[in-house]
Symmetry: C2
Subunit: 225 residues, 2 copies
DNA sequence: GCAAAAGTGTTAAGGATACACCCATGA
DNA sequence: TCATGGGTGTATCCTTAACACTTTTGC
């Protein structure tokens, strides 16, 4: 019945959409256990961390050079035997980011940092495969019931960009007329006076997400397709 | 940057509906800190606990004599300063139970165990008021999007019992024709050949929840009213 | 004028909401 | 027969789903 000596890690599952593919940020471990295996970025909680979320922010930056990110707590994993070093409780965080804005950098803790397609992952350390699977489910849910998708896009985006994010996360294609109709009538988009200038075809109108409009809506819209 | 010495507690927020009122199970603390204050049942993780959920189960039984309960992880609280004894991470669990089946018993850890209406709580230890507030929101959500309500009812119940649970959790009244129509057509209820024999008026038909039917439904029903 | 992606409307079906009275029972 | 809660149906509105062609642009 003695109170157990426990160590706490905070690990982050970061998603981004790249060229229509939903990807996860992983690091290659430099040290035992699971040396040379891929794992989620993260590490032990320290005395300097004011909160669990602050610890996640710090470690994500140190290990992958990623900052300024949407973060939310995902789940806490604490079964006996999940870490060969002893009892380790892991508080997992979910991060959403815009891959285009990132410049990855391997840190001293990791010999490599890379994006991996969520449907084609390498072997993973600890129970990280289960954490990713759980977070992937959460993301699918969130994108349909919250404005989470906008965290996976730059500030200005086309309706096609937005639809690509939904299709990548949900893993299926969506009717573009119904998609546009629903979003345009939802009241969360602000139409800009700009267009994207991509190539030798019709330029697309740019939009941005209006947090203010969203907050003022009488009922939360649902983005189910 | 030193890895911090952390202690982990597991606390449980247990809900039940009693006479149309949504209530929370609290214990009166026997020791410092917050001696004589009300708090959620819970305590430190021990070496015997195989998992966080097992720890919650054990502590709930030891402190309140409650067993055989629906449990799910709620959230992990870890800000600096939330416990005067030092860094304490609390993994909070949500429990749903049938108040009629319970026999509460004060344990040696607590000088009292009691149900408190969620809308009329006493002063609470630590950040437990925030935990309850968060769990209350989660419960409101769960009852509309999962069959969680059946964990707050005995195996056999009337449609009125079921509606009472929804009204207690959501905090508003619901049109009974629409409520019955939706549940009867949802496919999750099994009609029994029994009626409740309550008093000098028409007895009500009894139903039970059919887990099997629920699992076989092509789409998850939604219990929004 | 061609290639490429942007942008647009209608119809049909199903689900949600609002609303008020009769029924069955025991005392 | 009365008091009490149990039990029922319909009309309207709104949301969803299915579906294909025209427009704009750069080359």
């Amino acid at each position: 019945m003695a109170t157990e000596i426990v160590r706490v890690t905070v690990d982050t599952l970061a998603f981004a959409v790249h060229q229509g593919s939903l990807e996860v940020l992983l690091i290659k471990r430099k040290h035992e256990p699971f040396k040379a295996c891929w794992s989620l970025p993260g590490g032990f909680l320290t005395q300097e961390d004011q909160s669990l979320e602050a610890a996640a922010t710090r470690q994500l930056y140190e290990e992958t050079n990623v900052s300024n990110v949407y973060l939310e707590q995902l789940y806490t994993f604490g079964d006996i035997g999940r870490d060969p070093r002893g009892r380790v409780i892991t508080v997992a965080y979910l991060a959403l980011l815009r891959q285009e804005e990132l410049e990855l950098k391997a840190s001293s803790e990791a010999s490599g940092v890379a994006w991996w397609p969520v449907n084609d992952l390498p072997n993973l350390a600890f129970d990280h495969a289960a954490i990713i699977s759980y977070g992937y489910q959460r993301l699918k849910y969130k994108i349909e019931y919250t404005p989470a998708a906008f965290n996976l896009l730059c500030d200005k985006f086309t309706l096609r960009d937005l639809q690509t994010v939904y299709e990548a996360v949900l893993g299926r294609s969506i009717d573009n007329r119904n998609f546009r109709k629903k979003f345009l009538s939802s009241g969360v988009l602000k139409e800009l006076d700009e267009t994207s200038q991509e190539a030798s075809f019709r330029p697309a109108r740019l939009y941005c997400f209006s947090e203010d409009n969203f907050e003022r809506l009488p009922d939360r819209p649902v983005f189910v397709f």
